[in-house]
Structure formats: C-alpha cells, structure tokens
Assembly symmetry: C2
C-alpha cells in the first residue's frame, strides 16, 4: 500500500527520531510517500528550497494518492490536524496513534467517529498497534 505518514514538522520536532523509526518499519512492507517527515533536519522540505505553496501542493497530491493515513499525534501540530480533516474529506482510512503518557488528544479527533484512535504507552505497543491496524485495511 501507499501510506501517507503524518507527523509534526513546524509544530515541533521532538518526535522526529520516533517518526523515522516508525517510517523505517512501515517501509518493510509498504511505500511511505512522506518519508521526509522522519528526516533529522528541522524543516526538511523548506531546506530543499520549496515554497510553502509547493509543500502544500505536494502533500495534498500525496494525500490523494495514498491508500491510508498513519498519523503519530503525540506532538500537537496545526498541519497534522489539517491533513487529518482533509484525509476524511477524501475518504481515506485514518489511523491515529498517540502516547497517552504525554497528554490528551484533541476532542476534534477523539470525538469525530470517522477516526480510528490508538492510544499507546510504549514504543513496542505503538509498533504492534500499527501492524494490527494495517492488517485491517
């Protein structure tokens, strides 16, 4: 499958290494369209000389092309919230993962019956939950 992996970029890069490990895991069995989200650089797309409009247009094209969205939501991000709502409009299956030890997920996500929400308490549990979710698509 083609997966759109969503994580925080400008909202904060505290989880960039976690995103990279999760993307590497997903790539063992699938194509990840948004591999740059796990790059060690703070703003990987900006550093490639892309304008904000270029980044938006590319991400929306990848979102339309994807078979499903995998979102790691432990770091709050405006862009990720936008992507998850747009994914819903496009009818894409959306799987949301967040570390319950780090805080609360927005009620706009947990309260919307469209999303499949997976709280986790360890990285091992996250990987298991992602694998189980992908088997249901």
């Amino acid at each position: 499958m083609k997966l759109y992996f969503a994580g925080s970029i400008r909202g904060g890069r505290a989880d960039a290494a976690l995103y990279a490990r999760l993307i590497a895991h997903l790539k063992e069995s699938h194509t990840v369209l948004t591999e740059h989200v796990g790059a060690p650089s703070a703003f990987p797309t900006v550093e490639k000389g892309m304008t904000d409009h270029d980044i938006w247009a590319q991400d929306m094209a990848w979102l339309r092309e994807s078979d499903a969205v995998i979102a790691e939501c432990s770091t709050p991000s405006l862009g990720m919230g936008y992507e998850l709502a747009m994914a819903q409009q496009l009818g894409k299956p959306v799987y949301i993962f967040f570390d319950v030890r780090r805080g609360w997920l927005s009620a706009m996500l947990t309260g919307d019956p469209y999303y499949r929400i997976h709280p986790y308490e360890s990285e091992e549990a996250l990987f298991h939950a992602v694998d189980a979710a992908l088997e249901t698509i």
Copy 2:
C-alpha cells in the same frame, strides 16, 4: 456577525489569557460562539462534564452556524488545524493570526491559498489586524 474563535485547548493553554482578551474585544461588536476557548480553566468543556463526542458535535454545529472563523494560531494544536480545514469545506471565511516572534506557521496553512494569513509582532498589531479583517467580511 457570529464568529467562531479558534485557539488551542489540549494543544497547550499558554495563550488562554490572550484568547480571553481577543474574545472580549470581538464581543464589543459581534457574537463569539466559542467563548469558552478563553476560559481560565485548562479544559473548559471537559470540566462541564461533556464527552469528547459532545464537544466535537457542539463545535461542528457552531462552525456551521458561524459567519467567519478567527483563529489565533501561535500555539500549535491538532484540533485547530482540523477546524480550519473543516471551515474551508463549509466555505467559511477564515482569518489566521500568529505571532511571528514565536515560530513558523504550518505550510499546510500558509501554502493553501484559501486562508487569509496575518502575521503580527505585538498584541496591539494583532488587534488592529483583527479589526481590519472583520471590516472586509
């Protein structure tokens, strides 16, 4: 006009007092449907005993009822990103304000030509920009 004011709740309450001052200013001339966003409590809706589904259903009803969305985006928030994308789907005018001294706004917002983006560098400038935006609706 009926305004939907958007700010961060679970994404972080660092700007709650700013939201309250901005909501008080908006209320001098308009109706603010989401006044609770400026409440001093951390999670104003949850403290009222509402479930996440109740919160989502109420916020979506207010979004549909609103004439325009005023969003203060300096604190990143998943719920706010979701609301801004949903507001676009509903065809609501969306005015986004953010303090440029605090960081970068998501390229999903700055890169999407739908939104009217207003960076500001002082609270006085924010209030002027909000008043100017409201005159264009």
